[in-house]
Symmetry: C2
Amino acid sequence: VSAAGETLLLQAVEGAAKLGSTYLGGVIFSAMGKYQVQLSPAGRENCVKGLTKVAHRAKELGVTLGLEAVNRYESNVINTVAQARSFIEDIGADNVKVHLDTYHANIEERGMAQAVEEAGEDLGYVHVGESHRGYLGTGSVDFPTFFSALKSSGYQGVVTFESFSSRVVSPDFASSLAIWRDMWSDGDDLAGHAKAFIGTALGI
Amino acid sequence: VSAAGETLLLQAVEGAAKLGSTYLGGVIFSAMGKYQVQLSPAGRENCVKGLTKVAHRAKELGVTLGLEAVNRYESNVINTVAQARSFIEDIGADNVKVHLDTYHANIEERGMAQAVEEAGEDLGYVHVGESHRGYLGTGSVDFPTFFSALKSSGYQGVVTFESFSSRVVSPDFASSLAIWRDMWSDGDDLAGHAKAFIGTALGI
């Protein structure tokens, strides 16, 4: 988190609070994108310092922060649940949580059960996405193992479905996420399918 | 393939032939990296034209070309076996083959068996890599399904193990591949493990 990033993040936290939101998560620890060098110890320290200040303000406003573990091409800071937990430990605030995304975990983690278990009590938000970001169940993500671990963990928070298609997403956003293929065209059908898929997996 | 790219690729083919190699593969169809826009129809046409010329020269030199399907963050041209086959069809030369890599397939394909089956007779080279590019069997790649499909396919070509660790790989190369974490430090142990893993999986 640079000074400018810290200011932007504080604005986002205050904006979220104004909207009545109690959660702000994602790649909030640095700019998202393919980095050219490994994170330095000084860079990591800056991140922790900035997030500590923001977490303090977020706490006053009743907002929880989620550090999303994303794949190596979107960040050189937090790629795994273990790295997110290490940040949370160093920040030392109880309103900072792990944001776990199956699309990214499929690339970076040792397995879906391990990722959920490592997050443990710190799990604050869940993104469910397929390996190619299309329809759930049509790619590589081991969803039976993931949802079984999630149920066992006692997690009671939000489970959000994420999917992208070049057919629907705006060109700028699609390009930033490297969405080159049409994975689907009918958003309503996709969403209905995801809701049923997740409901069945969680037995709800 | 730009004009400059075509020249470089021709030089690479001639260099490979001089070394006595009969195969040149990888991301040989465009510069590797995170693109900012989707591939245009004109861009694709340029690729096909350039590769057609290079394939002709490679054929004279007894060199086979392999089009590697890589993930969305490394190319906007060929992310899947189906896309590689579509290029091969358009190029129309019998010395251009599909180069399949399990690390990339784990992100882009519908499944490991489907990827091998779609490559079919066009499968020319295989890269075996784990989802996080570390030790085989410690990530998300469904290797039992992959090797079972590979055996069934009758593929008789090379199977190469690929893995990267920030501990060993040069900083520039590691950064271009977004290798931020130490997945291992002992290359000999890693290679021995991979050889045994692949041997067991293929029953050889």
